[in-house]
């Protein structure tokens, strides 16, 4: 754990007009760790991901990937540094098949494969891994919500990332589907991939995170082991509400 962290942000801030969407966020995520990020809507979770992946430029602060300063670098540079992400609102490439969607990452990712035939083969492998193989020739528009989320996942995996940022990949999924997504995340963990999970679904955070960070109004409210964070009165007050607390004490 003395090695350089895979992702490190230093005093990262981003303002939109007068609003501090993210302010002074310093995180350090060592290799192999899975970090959950929770927070109410508008807390700055997605903005944080966008700042790290180059889709937004920080107003101040730094982003270091493997110790390399990549503050404000364009998205593809970040991707080539071994970072992959999903989008909160799924962004499939319509007009291309599911296989082609995945192949793009293989063709243009950090391991840039040039031969189309190789790309197709590798895409098939990624699709098998994510249980999408049967749908390889479908158009993304024909997929169910769950499959579309899985495709988002598959596209990120096609990049064979070292750091994976998951932005609400479980929103709108049912119990069984969430389970299979969690299974996938666990598999990735065993491969040593560093993962950041931004999620509303509490169960997911609890199940896979080594550490949980709570964002509130763009700032880090608290961080620590999942169980500790969830029982933190500050967190309950700001975010979870008492219905959740009730259910937790009553239900489990």
């Amino acid at each position: 754990m003395t090695a350089t962290p895979v992702l490190r942000t230093e005093h990262l801030s981003r303002r939109f007009g007068g609003l501090n969407a993210v302010s002074d966020v310093s995180l350090s995520i060592p290799e192999g760790e899975t970090v959950g990020v929770i927070g109410p809507n508008g807390a700055g979770k997605s903005t944080l991901i966008n700042l790290v992946t180059g889709h937004l430029k920080p107003s101040s602060g730094r982003v270091l990937i493997d110790g390399r300063d990549l503050t404000g670098a364009r998205p593809w540079v970040i991707t080539h540094a071994g970072v992959a992400r999903t989008f909160q609102i799924v962004k499939p490439f319509r007009g291309m098949t599911v296989r082609e969607n995945v192949a793009i990452g293989i063709l243009y990712g950090p391991h840039g494969v040039r031969r189309m035939s190789h790309a197709r083969e590798q895409a098939t492998r990624v699709l098998e891994e994510t249980n999408l193989a049967d749908l390889a020739e479908r158009a993304p528009g024909e997929l169910s919500v769950a499959d579309a989320r899985r495709l988002e996942f598959a596209k990120a995996l096609a990049l064979r990332p070292r750091l994976l940022l998951l932005d609400e990949v479980m929103a709108g999924l049912r119990h069984r589907e969430i389970e299979s997504s969690l299974e996938l995340i666990r598999t990735l963990k065993t491969r040593g991939i560093t993962i950041v999970v931004v999620e509303h679904v509490m169960r997911a955070i609890l199940a896979v995170s080594d550490r949980v960070v709570v964002l509130h109004h763009g700032k880090v409210l608290t961080e620590g082991r999942p169980r500790d964070v969830l029982s933190d009165p500050q967190v309950v007050e700001a975010y979870l509400g008492h219905r959740y607390a009730q259910r937790r004490t009553g239900g489990s």
Partner: protein, 231 residues
């Protein structure tokens, strides 16, 4: 019953999404429509409000058929639809958004909805796009109420909101129903929906698989397993 849906089917393009849906909403009633995403809940609301044509079956509102009416005509009947994702007019002020809600009925009285959602009052002159998620949802519901509808259909009230906020907004629904506007609430947060609804329908892969009193459904084992994460 105010709204009577019988054997309704609908879909997009060549894909059929809904099969033989039976559903009803009574006076001053809160009815929840729950189920996983992709089950067709949103499609059902969109069909009822005329965005999508129905393919079969009937839907009647106070005895008048919805099937051959356009979106605008259905609004005239007294049905308000608060769409998924809220769809506020982001560049307009909260006041303008609310006035637009009352556009058809020419209702410009904001007091009632402000009373229901006091956090909106200081925001009236603010651009709707700058509101927080919770305030936006309040604004959307308030906008729906401005047409003084007899039935309000709310799609995914909890989407993207923190549980605390969801609770706060849900707590207003009984008041709304009591004042004469029935509510058909679409939710995937089953726990939240069933906590305010009197009756509920469970929609799965385009069909109603369960329905009944909210309390009964909450105790149902299938519901507990599939939707409440209680093993």
């Amino acid at each position: 019953m105010m709204l009577e849906v019988r054997k309704l089917s609908a879909g997009y393009g060549r894909v059929q999404v809904l099969w033989d849906i039976d559903l009803s909403v009574g006076e001053r009633e809160i009815v929840a429509l729950v189920g996983p995403n992709g089950a067709g809940k949103t499609t059902l609301l969109r069909t009822l409000s005329g965005v999508i044509r129905m393919r079969g079956g009937t839907a009647e509102f106070r005895g008048r058929s919805l099937g051959d009416r356009s979106i605008e005509q259905i609004v005239d009947l007294g049905i308000a639809h608060v769409p998924e994702g809220r769809r506020l007019f982001a560049g307009l002020t909260v006041r303008a958004n609310l006035l637009l809600g009352g556009w058809r009925t020419k209702n410009t009285d904001l007091d009632r909805v402000i009373e229901l959602f006091p956090p909106l009052e200081p925001r009236l002159e603010q651009v709707a796009g700058s509101l927080s998620g919770g305030e936006q949802q309040m604004c959307a519901i308030a906008r729906g109420l401005m047409s003084q509808p007899e039935l309000m259909m709310i799609d995914e009230l909890s989407l993207g909101l923190a549980p605390l906020i969801v609770d706060e907004i849900l707590a207003r629904l009984p008041d709304i129903a009591a004042a004469g506007t029935s509510v058909l609430l679409v939710e995937q947060d089953v726990d939240a929906a069933l906590s305010v609804a009197e009756r509920a329908y469970v929609l799965e892969t385009g069909q109603v698989t369960l329905s009944g009193k909210a309390g009964v459904l909450l105790a149902d084992k299938r519901i507990q397993e599939s939707y409440l994460g209680i093993a």
